[in-house]
């Protein structure tokens, strides 16, 4: 089926007006040697048929009954009101607000988003959003290179492997060198970035230190100390944060972060096998002209009414072309709207409850595993709502549990060979006591 409204009579009317006998004539400018022959695209489906096909694929997935998987993507409650708002066609089927007079809904919601991200991060300015946390981090690192006019960056090994892979790809473009700041991953190690090791990696010519709070292993990093060593080296601190944690953890703006990047998925966006998500980026006002991506600003209309427009556009590719700070064109407006609605729906106390519940269940989980003699924490120090535990024979047992529909977190050795026999377990406000019991029982049964 197609969504074309044209009847044969309509088409005849248009062909006659154009003055051609058939639509084929309108394709005569395609050189004969490269005109398409056949293709293998299957025949059309009616709505009931296409629904059956998509339902088949959805059924082929097995959504686990119990899952402690996070590793950068978290299962949180998505309040019904969030789905309602982003499902509105006035938001979903509009495009980039090039005509502000008929785009105030989108523009104001982005201004609210920028404001909310500033509130969360304690920074002065936030962009209208990026593709995801990883590309926001990569763009933040490139921005630090522009600001410092340096072409080497230091990245903590506590930044998620997925993000570090994207960072490496982005840096390969302009030829920026990446130095990894190793962290102690041994049993009983700190699991955090050592400021002295970071200082050595930074040397005197690095543009930035990229560090995550909490880090990929769930550990709480000494961000203030990391900011100090970065600044002492004339470098910027790029803080990669988890947004729900900011209801409890210190705002990056308060510990001296120069640029903040984050994956916004935990703010009301489903896991959806990895996207669409939304990247957050915030910085100091003094750096705004080096920020990539869209910005919305407040102004007034001809009658003095408050209104919003895309602003500082001369930084962007459609005006600056080859001299632009980035090639980024769209933001992730609809996902930014989801995050905006989520933050307004939960408010300051709700966001705190989300974080506290997640934290409590993480500790409940560790206690339950330890007291059953199944696992012990890998690292010292403190953690947030994700925790790395050592479990003998982890790979086999992880696989055995998958067959029962239980995902015992992320098998850490997949990304980090030094982390054999460890699991990275995430809890959120949706983690129940029963989930913890079932994980403990199932793990015990694989001994």
């Amino acid at each position: 089926m197609t969504y074309s409204p044209h009847t044969d009579a309509d088409r005849a009317t248009m062909l006659a007006a154009i003055g051609v006998a058939s639509v084929d004539e309108l394709f005569d400018d395609i050189p004969a040697s490269v005109r398409a022959g056949g293709w293998d695209v299957p025949p059309p489906l009616a709505e009931q048929e296409v629904r059956a096909e998509l339902a088949r694929l959805a059924r082929r997935n097995r959504i686990p009954e119990v899952s402690f998987l996070g590793a950068g993507v978290y299962r949180h409650l998505v309040p019904a009101v969030v789905g309602e708002v982003i499902g509105r066609p006035e938001f979903a089927t509009a495009y980039t607000p090039y005509q502000p007079e008929v785009s105030q809904g989108t523009l104001q919601s982005i201004y609210e988003f920028q404001s909310l991200i500033c509130e969360l991060t304690g920074m002065e300015v936030a962009t209208a959003s990026h593709y995801d946390g990883a590309t926001a981090t990569a763009e933040a690192a490139l921005m630090a290179c522009r600001l410092t006019r340096r072409d080497r960056i230091a990245v903590s090994a506590g930044v998620s492997p997925d993000t570090r892979r994207v960072l490496a790809t982005y840096c390969s473009g302009p030829g920026i060198e990446i130095v990894t700041v190793p962290i102690d991953l041994s049993q009983g190690g700190t699991g955090t970035t050592d400021p002295a090791v970071a200082a050595a990696a930074l040397g005197s010519d690095a543009a930035c230190l990229v560090a995550a709070q909490p880090n990929f292993h769930g550990q709480i990093e000494p961000m203030r100390d990391l900011a100090e060593v970065a600044h002492a080296a004339g470098a910027q601190l790029v803080a990669v944060v988890e947004p729900t944690s900011l209801s409890i953890l210190e705002a990056p703006g308060a510990y001296g972060a120069d640029i903040v990047a984050a994956e916004g998925q935990p703010l009301g966006i489903p896991a959806s096998f990895g996207g669409p998500f939304v990247g957050l980026m915030a910085a100091r006002m003094g750096s705004v002209r080096q920020m990539p991506g869209r910005l919305v600003g407040a102004t007034r209309d001809v009658e003095g009414r408050r209104g919003y427009v895309l602003t500082l556009q001369a930084r962007e590719q459609h005006i600056r072309r080859e001299k632009a700070a980035s090639n980024i064109c769209t933001n992730q407006a609809l996902m930014a709207l989801a995050a905006t609605t989520y933050l307004a729906a939960v408010g300051p106390s709700g966001l705190r409850e989300v974080a506290e519940l997640s934290i409590t269940q993480a500790r409940h989980l560790v206690t339950a595993l330890e007291s059953a003699g199944l696992a012990r924490r890998r690292f010292g120090g403190s953690y947030f709502a994700e925790v790395t535990v050592t479990v003998p024979d982890a790979a086999r047992r992880h696989a055995a549990l998958v067959e029962q529909g239980i995902v015992a977190g992320h098998l850490a050795e997949r990304d980090e060979p030094d982390l054999r026999d460890t699991l990275l377990l995430a809890t959120t406000e949706l983690t129940t006591d029963d989930d913890i019991d079932r994980l403990v029982e199932a793990l015990a049964a694989t001994r």
Partner: protein
Amino acid sequence: MSYPDDAVYSREHEWVRADGDLATVGITSFAADELGDIVYVELPEVGSVLTQFATFGVIESVKAVSDLYAPVSGNVVEVNDALRDAPELLNSDPFGEGWILRVELSDPGQLDTLLSAAAYAAETN
């Protein structure tokens, strides 16, 4: 359009008003009109060196961006800080309060390579 006779002009739409070895540089009203509402100027630092016909800064309007080309070579001795807060001066008074910088000319002979007001007016017509 007519242009002040006490200045000379470059084809990149900058003007120069010399007073001995010191010269004041700005953009012409033609350039300002072409750009539209100017919102930002990236100014060089005092002490930096301009090379004739090389870029020395960037000027942005709401929907355009343009490089600034030095009409003469020399050391920058002063920049118009008022433009940081009020870039609109470039639109409202390009030959006066909207001046951009002053240089110490390294080769006053370069002035002779530039256009007179009448010649510039003819070029932009």
